[in-house]
């Protein structure tokens, strides 16, 4: 087993340089890369088709070309994706899957056809009433549609056995990640906010089976170490906890992330699959069973109570709400979460962020003030 520090460094390096990492995995595996927009993208099908699924979570870039397709007030992550599609960053992708899960993504699934005609797009829609039986049937049909498109683009037939095998690899990944976030909470100094983020993010730019093996080794190694205590412990919520400079500021102020409710992290792997059914039915079941997800319709709005549960379970000192500009669904949820946190007497910091921030002084003041309050 390799030294855990070297394994952590390996994963953080992968996440810090996605372009280089994807090029390396293409070279290493001989497979081609296929883009997966957020959120709840059926990566298992991409994997089963023999591609390397690549997460498309925006990134630092100067927005110049994307303004032709998206207004200034659109989600900055998706805008960055369009920009990078237009400026050639994604030139090696053999296609992209775009889940039509919010207003911006619905438009982008159409925009992409005109913006990046050389990269085929596969849209997928999820049902609002996701818990009824018909929803499972509908989602399986949608997955079959994605499967057919992947077969058309790749020229390869995808068998049910390949889908089952890919699903098993992803279930193994999800289980390992559930354990990782639990274990990482006991080692908040070794796995500081930025390291935690980069380790989780690396999964989007690697072969999942290889990634999972490394994460399992890190977990095993961490468990051998004496547990650590952070000065201040927080639970974070939002789409993503970027830019990473903000995570450095958290660490500078003695703040560690001990649990999350992030789309890029735990929302992706926290829901276990059902025991019964085919792989496609289980994939649909994960979406149907997901609780407290901003982007999946839920009239009961469990998000706030789940955050309170995480806060209590981890004996956290506060909650940080990462509001990515201009993510409407997260903004709609905030007043509800804020009210629940106030009623529960839980300190809550609202951080409006975007990936293109150059100056961090205001955010530094907000974070430091929050730390001073706690």
């Amino acid at each position: 087993m390799a030294d855990y520090k070297a394994l952590i460094a390996q994963l953080t390096a992968v996440a810090a340089t996605p372009g280089k990492s994807v090029a390396a995995v293409i070279k290493e595996t001989g497979k081609e890369a296929f883009g997966c927009f957020p959120l709840h993208t059926p990566e298992e099908l991409v994997y089963a088709a023999g591609y390397i699924p690549v997460g498309m979570w925006g990134g630092r870039t100067e927005i110049k070309l994307a303004d032709k397709y998206l207004q200034g007030f659109c989600c900055t992550i998706i805008k960055a994706n369009i920009e990078m599609g237009l400026n050639g960053t994604y030139k090696d992708l053999k296609g992209v899957i775009i889940p039509c899960i919010c207003d911006t993504l619905k438009c982008v699934s159409e925009d992409w056809i005109y913006a990046c005609p050389q990269i085929p797009v596969i849209p997928i829609a999820y049902p609002m009433q996701r818990k009824i039986d018909g929803a499972i049937e509908y989602m399986v049909e949608e997955f079959r549609h994605v499967q057919a498109k992947l077969e058309e683009i790749s020229g390869r037939k995808i068998t049910d056995e390949q889908i089952e095998a890919a699903f098993a690899i992803y279930e193994d990944y999800r289980q390992a990640m559930r354990e990782f976030v639990e274990v990482a909470a006991d080692y908040p100094l070794t796995i500081d906010a930025k390291t935690r983020h980069l380790i989780i993010k690396a999964a989007y730019f690697m072969d999942k089976a290889k990634y999972t093996a490394i994460v399992k080794d890190i977990i095993a190694e961490l468990k051998q170490l004496p547990k650590e205590e952070a000065k201040i412990k927080v639970v974070v919520s939002g789409l993503v906890s970027e830019p990473v400079e903000v995570l450095d500021i958290l660490t500078e102020n003695g703040i560690a992330i001990v649990a999350d409710d992030l789309s890029q992290a735990s929302r992706k792997f926290r829901t276990p699959a059902r025991a019964e059914g085919t792989a496609l039915e289980k994939m649909a079941g994960i979406i149907a069973d997901q609780k407290g997800d901003t982007f999946l319709y839920e009239p009961e709005k469990y998000k706030g109570s789940m955050l309170i549960d995480q806060y209590k379970a981890k004996k956290a000192d506060g909650i940080i709400y990462f509001q990515m500009k201009f993510c409407d669904p997260e903004e709609f949820d905030f007043p509800i979460v804020k009210k629940e946190m106030e009623e529960a007497g839980i300190p809550l910091l609202y951080l409006e962020v975007d990936q293109q921030i150059d100056s961090f002084e205001q955010l530094r003041t907000r974070i430091q003030s929050f730390a001073e309050i706690l």
Partner: protein, 260 residues
């Protein structure tokens, strides 16, 4: 002696406390971070207090320039320092509105006098002192004259935009349309008050409300904020120096805590 330094975006402030926790030095210089304003204001405050740098036992720096100032023992955010400074002046406040050159903040105080919540403006200048500086320039008056001008207003002129750049265009349009400088100045104050009211509501602010920061020197701004929040907003003593005073109190407390 215990020194509090507040290095803002457009001015530098220093407060000095003696061993009895009494204010013995207070100085402001209208030069902010990145200038030699801090040295000028320190010299002023030392002279006023009759002390030399050797007499200083502990220094706390706050404000926008706190991260780059190397002469302090520690740095604390202006949010905590304004709350501490307000408490020093014995204000019975539950909410503090601090409008400085670059930032506008609403700070909620709990029963024990600690910061329980806060909100601050984004990096744009809407709702800040900079907004008023731009308005004063367009209206061709001194920043200090805005208050008296606005008090003479006889008609409501709405400045609807919260963006400083767009509001500047809007003000020029109003002047071109023949609106008086007084009415436009009042409209600018109301625009800032509306912006701050949004932040006040976001932190669930409640009276009594006090105001700190340089903009609290503008009496008509206090009136507009009181109107907008439907409660009396009171400026603290030496509002521009509240952050520096709070930093000095922190310096006093940290020194004595370390001694124990």
């Amino acid at each position: 002696m215990f020194v509090g330094i507040d290095i803002g975006s457009s001015s530098s402030k220093v407060a000095i406390l003696n061993e009895n926790k009494e204010l013995v030095g207070l100085a402001v210089e209208n030069l902010g971070t990145g200038t030699n304003g801090i040295q000028i204001v320190l010299d002023k405050a030392f002279t006023q207090a009759g002390v030399t740098p050797e007499d200083i036992k502990y220094t706390v720096v706050t404000g926008y320039g706190r991260m780059t100032y190397e002469g302090a023992d520690t740095q604390i955010t202006e949010i905590s320092c304004h709350a501490k400074g307000t408490a020093f002046f014995n204000c019975d406040a539950k909410t503090i509105i601090d409008i400085g050159g670059q930032d506008a903040k609403v700070i909620k105080i709990d029963a024990a006098g600690n910061v329980s919540n806060f909100n601050m403006n984004e990096k744009c200048a809407a709702g800040t002192g900079r907004f008023l500086e731009v308005m004063a320039r367009v209206l061709d008056c001194k920043l200090g004259d805005l208050s008296d001008l606005a008090k003479a207003s006889k008609k409501d002129v709405s400045i609807s935009s919260v963006c400083t750049v767009f509001a500047e265009s809007e003000v020029i349009s109003c002047l071109s349309a023949g609106e008086s400088i007084s009415d436009v100045a009042k409209g600018a104050h109301r625009a800032v008050a509306r912006r701050v009211a949004g932040m006040y509501n976001r932190v669930s602010g409640e009276p009594p409300v006090v105001m700190t920061g340089g903009v609290a020197l503008n009496a008509d701004m206090i009136t507009c904020l009181s109107d907008e929040l439907k409660t009396t907003v009171t400026p603290v003593s030496h509002p521009q120096l509240a952050g520096a005073v709070g930093a000095a109190v922190f310096a006093y407390e940290k020194y004595h805590k370390a001694k124990k």
